[in-house]
């Protein structure tokens, strides 16, 4: 009887989890995807299969160009986050023994803050009369405000880095911290100088965390549309912003869906590729 109940229990839970995944993820995705094959006439959506939107994407140079530029933007954000985040994670995991969780908490707190508020905050720091320019002016280093920081791509990159940095630090920290001390000791014991221990043991073992963090940062930077909207000005036009404007202002849902589907497919390919490459480098 108990076995039957157990069996019943497990199968019920399996069914529930399947239903949840299907209804909350797969059905919306499918409907989303199907929309990308429709077209619009004025404000009406024509529910007929057509590859028009995809054709549009590949013909209209601006879309591909923006797409490629946005990928580079996301890669830049990702690499800056790696360069800034890895040392922080490494330091926290290896040296900040007593304070590491306190420092980590300080890094996590901004994640609870509203994303929009953080962008506005960055605006008030980077702006023409923002903190940085004011300080530089006060020090007499500049006469008129620097335009380097706001209403351009730099501003988008800086803001995204500030917002996304914790997302790379946390998984990297976690995987570095998990490395048992005696494995690092063993590398020294077998003749490694500190840099060699890092290169052959610490870095490779901690790599999965860094990869997870990097993918987080890359995907989020790739699809972001609020940051370019608020700090990017006209030259900070990104792919996410095009998708956004097709759903909002242009009211062209099918084209927006097509652009978003392309983004989704590219993101999935990137994730699968990284996964494949890490697995291969392991063996």
């Amino acid at each position: 009887m108990r076995e039957v109940l157990n069996y019943f229990n497990t199968s019920v839970w399996t069914i529930i989890s399947f239903i949840l995944v299907i209804s909350l993820i797969l059905i919306p995705l499918a409907s989303f995807l199907s929309y990308s094959f429709f077209t619009v006439d004025g404000t009406d959506i024509i529910h007929e299969f057509s590859l028009f939107n995809y054709k549009e994407f590949f013909i209209g140079e601006i879309y591909i160009n923006t797409f490629v530029r946005t990928i580079f933007l996301a890669l830049t954000v990702m690499f800056i986050c790696i360069l800034l985040g890895y040392p922080v994670a490494y330091f926290l995991a290896r040296y900040a023994s007593r304070y590491k969780y306190a420092i980590l908490l300080m890094l996590i707190i901004p994640l609870f803050m509203s994303y929009i508020i953080k962008i506005y905050m960055m605006r008030s720091i980077l702006g023409y009369s923002g903190l940085i320019n004011k300080i530089l002016k006060m020090l007499g280093l500049i006469d008129k405000p620097l335009e380097f920081f706001l209403w351009n791509q730099n501003a988008v990159i800086i803001t995204l880095v500030v917002i996304l940095l914790p997302l790379i630090i946390i998984p990297t920290f976690t995987s570095l911290e998990k490395i048992p001390r005696n494995i690092i000791e063993a590398s020294f014991d077998l003749g490694c100088k500190p840099f060699q221990a890092f290169k052959y043991v610490i870095f490779p073992i901690g790599l999965p965390g860094l990869i997870v963090g990097s993918i987080f940062v890359f995907i989020l930077a790739l699809g972001d549309f609020v940051t370019p909207q608020l700090v990017g000005g006209t030259s900070g036009f990104t792919y996410g912003k095009i998708i956004y404007s097709n759903f909002g202002m242009a009211f062209n849902w099918p084209f927006g869906a097509a652009l978003a589907s392309i983004l989704l497919i590219v993101s999935v390919i990137i994730i699968l590729l990284t996964n494949y490459l890490t697995n291969r480098s392991k063996s």
């Binding site: 048992p180 005696n182 494995i183 000791e185 063993a186 590398s187 020294f188 014991d189 077998l190 003749g191 490694c192 100088k193 060699q196 052959y200 043991v201 490779p204 073992i205 392991k282 063996s283």
Partner: protein, 360 residues
Amino acid sequence: MSEILELKNISKSYGKTKVLHDISLKIENNEFFTILGSSGSGKSTIIRIIGGFVKPTSGQIIFKNNVINEQPIFERPFNTVFQDYALFPNMNVFNNVGFGLKIKNINKLEIKNKVQEVLSVVGLENFADRMPQELSGGQQQRVALARTIICEPKVILLDEPLGALDAELRKQMQLFLKEIQKKIKISFIFITHDQEEAIFLSDRIAVLNNHEFEQIGSPKDLYYSPKTTYMAKFFGECNLINCTVIDKKINNIVVDSEYGKFSILQNTNVSPGDNIIFGIRPEEIKIISQANTNSISLAIKDIEFKGSTSNINVKTKNSGNFVKIQNISSNISQSFQQGNSVNIEFNTAVGTIFKNERST
């Protein structure tokens, strides 16, 4: 045999907590040296100091007449087999074993040959492609050992390497370690809390008690000539009898104890009135049928049946303390019963006299 490594007056404390106090020892070439101590006695700290992971608070580490206190870990000619193996999880067996050579920039072909050779020494020729996670505890142990052997260190430090293995495997690995140490001719410093393991494996044993070495010597030395009552108790079993010296002649010390008077047939510098502790191993006591001048009559407290032999504990009529007698053929012990009065005789020539010690 020549001496290869020496620790001189090594002490280590963390703040006010003392971990090691005035540790001195000499390791000889090709020797299997065991540091035996209960958990928390600081035994691991000793090899961590030798390996370079821990700096001693005071004292010197001397290798071939050079003080190497300041030498960094990666330059020391010692390698460690860690307690839980510490194999690199990102490398297969081949790369784990070859790691030490790779770091030294030795060419790939030579590494390959050496790894094959060492893997065959530890009996893992066919496991080169496995990942550590795919190996059993005993196999991981062998990889950890192979990884150190290949570096040709002067001393291999083994930090309780058999602690995590089950009893059967542990026996096998003991045999394996002993054989391999003889084969590769490298000094081993082996840490354990298991006396039997220490006796089986070691050329010499150092017993660590209360942050200091209690005694260092061959297993036989430690068994037959314990220097302290702690050693007598810790290393095998021992009856410790509080005695008062009554009379002393050459090779005959007459003492009185709670069990009665007897003579100790030894020559030690004691005088009448001294309080001593006489330690005698349970197997050095006989039950005799006829009382003689040096026998004591005691009552049987209980009989512990162990199969072919039995232990018998005997006591006086009105005391809780008892003397343990071991290795009595069960054929004989069957004829006794609890409460029976028996005559026992100590083989006092092999007992040990402890002076100036309080009984425990």
